[in-house]
């Protein structure tokens, strides 16, 4: 009898403990992003104000953007994160693979108010960024005029850095080989087109230094390891503005993309996650990021909220769309991404 009572008390205590544990959890939101200047900007524009407004504590984690980490969490049923920032192609892959939750837009905001392609089934857009060319004019005497100058080793000898990923590089390779931006994805969908792109990349393969993390291009330029590099525009602008580097950005032939955020399947705190998504998707909040890193808003009605001094530096500012540019085709990369990544990795290793 006594034993039974003791175990009852123990049970009650344990239950109370679990309840307290869950209550504490409800006020926490765990977000995994890809680090660097971009995560700093999100902290200032969104994490901190959201925390202040709702009293939710935000726990930050960093990763390289590899879906494997998220898959391992979902597969083992132990998902310690509630939100994860991802690339568009990764959203499609993760959506098909059942790693990411299908989003309920009624809890986020009007889906038709997002730029086309930035509100997907399993991921909602955070910002628009440009894949651009950056160089250091104190090193490179002649100024490149287009991202495609990456392929001109005669005029611009020396190492150049490019992202260790087929997306963007294959598009640029075709454009450098004379394909019009409007036809790039049509050509790339054929086996001959893929061969053609890799053949063009072959011509500069020995001159390429490959980067993985978004912070690397600025470092590679600063250490003069390379004379030019492809990069995400915000990271380079950050090096110019914050670290006072003399770098220059070439916008001609840039590729426009969207950063996304998603909820991994089995996240412990979906309510808080949705609250956060709704918060950052408000046009006035969506525009705030631009003041901290030069990435544009994805809400069509957010432009008027962007700070005046940030506007001319955004990838989708009118000046930066004056030359040629390409909007990354999310669906193309969803369909062909896996095979092209495989081919690209084999090509790299050879």
């Amino acid at each position: 009898m006594k034993l039974a009572r003791t175990s009852l008390i123990a049970l009650a205590a344990a239950t109370a403990f679990i309840t307290i544990g869950r209550a504490a959890l409800a006020d926490e939101l765990s977000i995994m992003a890809s680090g660097g200047a971009w995560q700093d900007a999100q902290r200032k524009a969104w994490f901190e104000p959201f925390s202040k407004e709702t009293g939710t504590k935000i726990l930050e984690q960093e990763y390289l953007g590899d879906l494997g980490k998220v898959k391992a969490m979902v597969d083992t049923g132990n998902v310690p994160i509630d939100l994860v920032t991802v690339e568009t192609a990764t959203v499609l892959q993760g959506c098909d693979a059942g790693i990411l939750e299908r989003l309920d837009y009624s809890k986020i905001g009007p889906r038709d108010k997002f730029i086309e392609g930035s509100a997907l089934d399993c991921g909602v857009g955070l910002d628009a960024y440009g894949d651009i060319l950056a160089y250091d004019p104190t090193v490179l005497k002649e100024a490149p005029t287009s991202v495609l100058d990456l392929f001109d080793t005669k005029k611009f000898p020396g190492k150049r850095a490019m992202r260790k990923f087929p997306a963007q590089n294959l598009e640029w390779a075709l454009m450098a080989d004379g394909v019009a931006p409007a036809d790039v994805y049509k050509v790339l969908a054929t086996p001959e087109g893929v061969d053609r792109a890799f053949k063009k990349l072959d011509t500069i393969k020995k001159d390429i230094v490959w980067w993985d993390a978004g912070a690397q291009p600025a470092q590679l330029l600063a250490s003069q390891e390379v004379v030019m590099t492809s990069a995400w525009n915000g990271r380079i602008q950050n090096a110019i503005d914050t670290d006072k580097k003399p770098f220059k950005i070439v916008w001609n032939n840039q590729i426009l993309e969207y950063d996304m955020i998603a909820i991994p399947k089995g996240a412990k705190n979906p309510d808080a996650a949705y609250k956060y998504l709704a918060y950052i998707s408000k046009p006035e909040n969506n525009a705030k990021l631009a003041s901290h890193i030069t990435y544009g808003p994805v809400r069509t009605d957010a432009a008027s909220f962007v700070a005046a001094d940030a506007l001319p530096k955004l990838p989708n500012a009118p000046d930066h769309l004056a030359g040629a540019y390409l909007v990354a085709d999310t669906e193309f990369w969803g369909d062909y991404g896996e095979d092209l990544v495989k081919r690209f990795n084999a090509w790299l290793a050879q």
């Binding site: 494997g68 098909d96 390891e225 095979d339 990544v341 081919r343």
Partner: protein, 426 residues
């Protein structure tokens, strides 16, 4: 005639005595064995927690992971109707319409259960391009209206292409050699013989060779640097030897990541090494040491040096200097004395150090990732890529398995040549 000839006196008695002694001896050795057995049991019991920990945290997970290289039930589980319909297919040409209908039903089933993607991915690993075809076909099946499933299947050319059905039939067997063969750049031909994969897909043999080459180069470099240094340390007075040992060990106590990062600072274009080479006049322009094979070997040599040096040093320390002196006094030239007296004795230490370094080099991951270029990535980088990025753990397991087999084979050859008992570790 001697009365003391026992053989003639009492043979049976002697025999009795001997057998008694034998029995005694037997019982003694039996008792000894029992005691030893008890000892062994106690030792085993003491080591049991460790063994259990090893088995649970190391052995079982490794076996489970490696088993993924040959056991992949994804397709078999996802296509039960199709595998049944394919039961009596002879593998020639196209299977009958029943197989097409069964596949259509299985595809719709998977879509409904949410396992469509896993299936598409598993098929895609064997049949390049299958992923988008599966998803496309499912979309048509779901939204095709009143079009019969068989017609939909026949209208997608992919399902009637040669090679599609043999691959599916192969996939319905849960035990597969597909991944292990892929790890060796091989595959089954349509007519059932082995063939090499097309050159634009063939990477792994090249990467395995590269891994062994880099490991051998680093082992040789550490030996060339480590041997004289070990000799120096073993021949100087104790105090100085202690300082030298600490100098060797100091970097050894630093994390491998930090040391690799330090090398990126030294090796970069405007780094110290390039500054020094220019200043000394060894180079006329700045060299590309970062993201190159040579930079990778330099950094790995630095990290591995203590592993080669310490076993050599520990053996050298045990060789009395008087032996060399004795050799000289018997008329041996210094080189002869070194070759015939010194070298045979330090040889086990040299081999132990080299083996340790070689095997550790086979698993290098961080250093090639940070210092090597795209064509300097070793097999571990590919394994990591399959685990983290491509989510293809079967392929990662197959590559790990091949690496393990190669390593064990090398170890076996080595043990055969030298004898494991002669290996001297620190």
């Amino acid at each position: 005639m001697s009365a003391l000839q026992p053989s003639e006196l009492d043979r049976p008695a002697l025999a009795r005595g001997r057998s008694a002694a034998d029995t005694d001896q037997k019982s003694v050795s039996a008792a000894l064995r029992r005691a030893e057995f008890g000892d062994r049991l106690r030792t085993l019991a003491l080591a049991a927690p460790l063994l259990l920990l090893l088995a649970l945290s190391f052995g079982i997970p490794i076996v489970l992971l490696l088993s993924r290289a040959v056991y992949d039930p994804t397709i078999a589980n996802a296509l039960p109707r199709t595998s049944q319909a394919l039961g009596d297919w002879n593998g020639q040409g196209q299977p009958d319409d029943a197989a097409f209908t069964a596949l259509a039903a299985d595809l719709r089933d998977n879509q409904a259960k949410g396992t469509g993607y896993e299936l598409a991915k598993a098929l895609n690993a064997r049949l390049p391009g299958a992923r988008s075809q599966v998803l496309k076909t499912v979309r048509q099946l779901e939204g095709g209206g009143d079009k019969p499933p068989l017609e939909v299947m026949k209208s997608v050319p992919f399902w009637s292409a040669p090679g599609t059905w043999p691959a599916i039939a192969n996939g319905t067997h849960s035990i597969t050699s597909f991944y292990l063969l892929s790890a060796l750049d091989l595959r089954w031909n349509a007519d059932g013989s082995l063939e090499r994969v097309p050159p634009e897909q063939a990477i792994f043999l090249q990467v395995f060779l590269r891994t062994f080459f880099v490991a051998a180069a680093v082992t040789l470099a550490t030996l060339l640097l480590g041997f004289p240094l070990a000799y120096l340390i073993s021949s100087v007075p104790k105090g100085l030897a202690a300082i030298l040992i600490v100098a060797v060990l100091l970097p050894f106590w630093t994390s491998i990541l930090v040391r690799t990062a330090a090398w990126t600072v030294l090796l970069q274009k405007f780094g110290l090494v390039n500054d020094l080479l220019l200043w000394l006049g060894f180079a006329s322009e700045r060299l590309d040491l970062m993201y190159s094979r040579i930079g990778l070997i330099i950094a790995m040599t630095h990290i591995q040096l203590p592993f080669t040096l310490l076993p050599i040093y520990s053996v050298m320390r045990t060789i009395a200097p008087s032996q060399m002196k004795a050799a000289y006094s018997l008329g041996a030239m210094p080189f002869t004395a070194f070759r015939r007296v010194y070298l045979p004795q330090v040889f086990p230490g040299v081999m132990a150090g080299c083996l340790l370094t070689f095997i550790l080099c086979l698993g290098y991951y961080i250093t090639p990732a940070l210092i090597g270029g795209a064509s300097d990535q070793l097999i571990s980088n590919f394994i990591a890529n399959y685990v983290n990025v491509e989510l293809n753990w079967e392929m990662a397991a197959a590559l790990s398995f091949i690496l393990l087999v190669f390593t064990l084979a090398l170890f076996g050859i080595f043990a055969r040549i030298l004898g494991l008992d002669r290996l001297k570790m620190v």
